[in-house]
């Protein structure tokens, strides 16, 4: 599995960026100690003009580099948490529906349908407005629109695996349904869902940015989306304010997609073999 994955140059590139990003996110308090929202200098210092503040400062004189580094932390955290919540919820509901069948399955799938036909962003917008834009609410709001994919995927996978010979063999052997479900099927239903998870991570990062753009981000933490949203008012006088976090955002999303794609290929490839 590792070889075809590492052999793809674009996967390597994406992996490198993503690794660097996770490293930066993890080490943020060491690289840029202190509160990133603290005022560090004069407002609106352009980038590359002050050695102490390499990327300059924003509207309130906050260190853009520190914000960027801590923003990586939030973006990664929001992306991963939202994906985690969505995958976990989706797996649970999808697997339950797939196993239970009958009325339970029908009821669960109607709920999935309900979430699927409501535009996720609209739902997130309403949810965050109503619950107040804390980071966890944002994570939940994004997951709310993203869990149906994993749910459907998990259910479809469970349904097809349920009919496969090795499950029949396990039954004939006298294995209990619970063991079949969790030891035999779950591990195999996971990879395609995990492959989708990378797309959810990328989408979550973008959704968070869009929510912040509409003023629905958590004001207590730095996020790239909020930085872009703040910077957009100075788009023409201090474009760097939104371009720099924008580049960080695009790089993150691209690398996530690249890694996800490679992961999907190798995960599904292995299943075929």
């Amino acid at each position: 599995m590792t070889r075809p994955f590492l052999r793809r140059p674009e996967a390597l590139l994406g992996g490198a960026i993503l690794l660097a990003l996770i490293l930066i996110a993890g080490l943020a308090p060491l690289i840029a100690p202190g509160d990133p929202l603290a005022i560090a200098g004069r407002p609106l210092i352009p980038p590359f003009t002050d050695a102490g503040l390499p990327l300059g400062t924003d509207r309130l004189g906050r260190d853009l580099l520190a914000e960027l580094i801590h923003g990586a932390r939030t973006s990664v955290a929001v992306g991963l948490s939202a994906a985690l919540v969505a995958v976990f919820a989706g797996m649970t509901v999808g697997t339950a529906a797939g196993f239970a069948g009958g009325a339970i399955e029908a009821a669960l799938m109607r709920i999935v349908d309900a979430f699927q036909i409501v535009p996720g962003f609209l739902l997130a917008l309403a949810f965050v407005s109503v619950m107040g834009p804390s980071l966890w609410v944002v994570v939940l709001a994004i997951a709310l629109g993203a869990w149906t994919g994993p749910a459907r995927l998990a259910r479809a996978r469970v349904l097809s695996l349920r009919e496969s010979d090795f499950v029949a063999a396990a039954k004939v052997m006298g294995m209990s349904p619970a063991e079949i479900a969790f030891r035999q099927i779950m591990p195999l239903a996971l990879p395609p869902v995990l492959a989708v998870a990378s797309v959810i991570v990328a989408a979550a990062v973008l959704t968070e940015a869009a929510l912040s753009f509409l003023g629905l981000g958590d004001p207590n933490s730095v996020t790239w989306g909020a930085m872009i949203a703040e910077g957009r008012n100075q788009l023409r006088s201090a474009a760097y304010l939104s371009i720099i976090p924008g580049i960080a955002l695009v790089l993150t999303v691209i690398s996530t997609y690249l890694v996800g794609e490679a992961l999907t290929d190798s995960l599904t490839g292995r299943d075929k073999r």
Partner: protein
């Protein structure tokens, strides 16, 4: 150096204003034309007699006129539908002489009956500000079609009523509203007034169209053919539209401050700061006195000392604001006094005060935590929230911003009192009795936005407020309100940080700009387009 740049921004703005106000006198012949204005919101209710707010006035003031408008001239008032007003000695009645030859947009003549109807059926029972201001109004007598006599049950200062006229006295046509459910009358959505412009069209989410009233009472007025208010909720979009020449005017700071320097340099556009003097907003820190810690004056003083007002002015307002000394803004010609307790930026003093109050630094340098709720509906209040969080951190107070959207914020602060500090844009409306004393007077029922919901109760201050309310002599009244400012700054029921003037960005082709202290919410009869 930075400060100088932004000050220069103000200066260029004023220069441009002088140039533009000079124009109408030179160019005698007005070319008519369509003025396109950016509007950042669509008020749910457009009737200014019911909802006396700037968002409503911005559009409706061109159609429905008040008895008088604010003025830069001495006396501060310019007659509109009323040509004169006089109070009785005992303060129990005020007599208005009304303008002759005015008719409603549907052709019906305007009479004192309309004024009486508006006062008794609309301002007193329905209007957000009138409900308290006219609480003592008993009857309005109409001895002839051009005279209206307001009779009060308690002495009422003429100064207060006069100051309030531009805000509270929008007159509605009696024949349209009489006998109907006034709050739901269709004319609230298709206004009928006496103003220079008639209601044209409204496409929700797109625009309001007002067209010229050819039979306006002002001779040769208005200059414009029509006005389009284009709905542009996104501030960046408003700036782009100005630059692209799609819009002539963006008022109420709808162009982001940070973009003003650049916009000011765009040929054909000017930044104007005048025209808002009678509707000054104040950046105010509201304090929940129910919170044990904040009921301690020393803590409040420490917070006041922790705020670097210069930084706030320079960085958040980019120079487009003044330091606030107290609850009355410095640009008010009548009531303002600088002779109040001030709290210079002094972190050491702030820390000492907190130590004295018994709140010592704990591990990590934190003394205690507070919930901070910045009002979400202005960029400046949000940014000040970000700043205040940092400023408080510097003296060991850990302030956590609790985010809400507008409705959530109103409920959290004014109904649930679920805050420790809140940041509000309060409005000073030419007289402290209109919307300022309510911010500190005790006994406000829960759920009233922009009133004292911090649980502050000071019998001395209450007594002073009550006395001023029935003091008829203007000199004495002013003196009482100066005491009011001193008491408020000494005891800090709330902290006034900045007097915040709005900016307009105007195309140079627009004439008759900022001709009075409430220009953006006045009738624009004298506004025109050159070329």
């Amino acid at each position: 150096m930075f400060a100088t740049i932004s000050r220069r921004g103000v200066l260029t703005g004023t220069a441009a204003l002088l140039a533009s106000t000079a124009l109408p006198r030179l160019a005698l012949a007005q070319g008519g034309g369509r003025l396109i204005v950016a509007a950042d919101s669509e008020p749910r209710q457009l009737n200014p007699a019911i909802v006396a707010s700037n968002g409503v006035f911005f559009i409706s003031s061109k159609v429905i006129e008040p008895l008088a408008e604010a003025s830069y001239d001495a006396g501060g008032l310019k007659p509109l539908l009323a040509t004169g007003w006089e109070g009785s000695e005992d303060g129990l009645s005020i007599t208005f002489a009304l303008r002759e030859g005015v008719s409603w947009h549907d052709g019906t003549p305007f009479t004192s009956a309309d004024v009486a109807f508006s006062a008794m059926e609309v301002w007193k029972p329905l209007q957000n500000i009138g409900r308290s201001l006219f609480a003592n109004l008993e009857t309005v007598e109409t001895p002839d079609p051009l005279t209206a006599i307001f009779r009060f049950s308690k002495p009422t200062p003429l100064q207060l009523i006069a100051n309030a006229l531009p805000v509270v006295s929008s007159v509605l046509p009696k024949h349209v509203y009489e006998g109907s459910d006034i709050a739901e009358n269709p004319a609230n959505r298709a206004l009928i007034g006496t103003g220079p412009f008639k209601w044209g069209d409204y496409r929700p989410g797109e625009y309001y169209l007002l067209t010229r009233n050819d039979s306006y009472w002002g001779e040769g007025l208005p200059h414009l053919d029509d006005i389009v208010f284009r709905v542009l909720p996104d501030r960046a979009a408003a700036a782009s539209s100005l630059e692209a020449g799609e819009v002539h005017l963006a008022a109420f700071s709808s162009v982001p401050l940070a973009d003003l320097d650049r916009i000011a340099k765009v040929p054909g556009l000017s930044v104007v700061t005048r025209g808002y003097e009678a509707l000054t907003y104040q950046l105010t820190v509201e304090i929940n006195h129910r919170t044990g810690i904040l009921s301690d004056l020393k803590v409040r003083q420490a917070i006041a000392h922790a705020i670097d007002k210069d930084f706030v002015l320079d960085t958040i307002f980019l120079g487009y604001a003044e330091k606030a000394t107290g609850p009355v803004p410095a640009n008010d010609p009548t009531f303002y006094t600088p002779d109040v307790t001030t709290y210079p930026f002094d972190i050491a003093a702030a820390k000492d005060l907190l130590d004295e109050a018994g709140y010592r630094e704990g591990p990590g340098g934190t003394r205690f935590s507070l919930r901070l709720l910045p009002a979400p509906y202005f960029a400046e209040t949000r940014q000040f929230g970000d700043y205040l969080r940092q400023a408080l951190a510097a003296i060991g107070i850990d302030a956590q911003i609790v985010p809400h959207d507008a409705a959530g914020h109103i409920k959290a602060v004014y109904t649930d009192h679920a805050f420790d500090l809140a940041i509000a844009p309060t409005v000073f409306r030419a007289d402290p009795a209109i919307s300022t004393t309510i911010l500190v007077r005790s006994g406000q029922p829960d759920g009233v936005p922009f009133s004292n919901q911090g649980g502050y109760a000071n019998p001395d201050l209450d007594a002073l407020i009550d006395e001023a309310l029935v003091t008829l002599d203007p000199g004495k009244r002013v003196a009482l309100y100066k005491d009011f400012q001193r008491m408020v700054t000494a005891d800090l029921p709330l902290i006034n940080v900045a007097d915040w003037s709005f900016t307009s960005v105007v195309a140079d082709s627009v004439t008759g700009v900022a001709t009075n202290p409430r220009w953006v919410v006045s009738n624009w009869a004298e506004t025109g387009l050159s070329e």
